[in-house]
Symmetry: C2
Subunit: 141 residues, 2 copies
């Protein structure tokens, strides 16, 4: 929150109503929301929330590294970036489509190793698993 405001200022931008509302809403959710969901929730809670403003705010926040964007099924979903560097990845459950966050130290270590092996600085990464709970039957047509 304070961090976002600082980063915006440092970029010569304003911590304006729309942007602040988006940051604050995302901070409360901590996991993926679509632009539409954000706009709807903002309007419900009475904050500013035209689609244009929400999309513009998300684009700006993404460029500044304050939110993470994740495209799936032709939709963009967003979540806040924790300034401490904490992050998680996502599993899409098979029959339901529910998205579940997870993190794994070994996975992170493997990714660091890949960067070293290939001679590049990995600035960000995302991992998406799709799967179903054991015991649950596979989808049958």
């Amino acid at each position: 929150m304070q961090h976002s405001s600082d980063v915006l200022r440092a970029a010569g931008l304003r911590a304006s109503a729309g942007r602040t509302a988006v940051v604050e809403l995302l901070g409360r959710q901590s996991c993926l929301l679509t632009a539409q969901e954000i706009a709807d929730q903002l309007r419900e809670q009475g904050s500013a929330g035209s689609t244009a403003t929400v999309y513009r705010a998300l684009e700006t926040l993404h460029e500044l590294g304050l939110v993470r964007r994740f495209d799936s099924d032709g939709l963009a979903r967003y979540e806040p970036v924790d300034p401490s560097g904490e992050h998680h990845h996502h599993i899409v459950l098979d029959p339901s489509g529910d998205v579940v966050p997870f993190d794994d130290a070994e996975l992170e270590r493997a990714i660091v190793g890949i960067g070293q092996r290939l001679g590049l600085v990995v600035t960000s990464h995302e991992v998406i698993l799709r799967g179903r709970l054991i015991d649950e039957p596979p989808e049958s047509d």
Copy 2:
């Protein structure tokens, strides 16, 4: 190629002109192409390639597990699935936007471990890294 044809038949579908052309084109590329790129290349080479057919073929092939789909920047990109189970992941290079394939055994092991730890069958997974080559200066505004 033969494999695709078999899988289509097994699903009660036909290995028709459009679908065959898409499979064959993807087989030649082995890495990510958008639907538009596929349609354009098909038309250039004289094969069938209306956008509708390409989209429909890709959807079908994806459902049958013959192609992999990968959403990024609001665009869907596709690549063939190797029937032997071989697969790779992608690095998006930072200044250029070029996409480079890679694979890593340790990464795959970590993913298997995650599935076990969380009690689920991981049916597919994708990993996207973004980074820049060491020595290359970060983007300056």
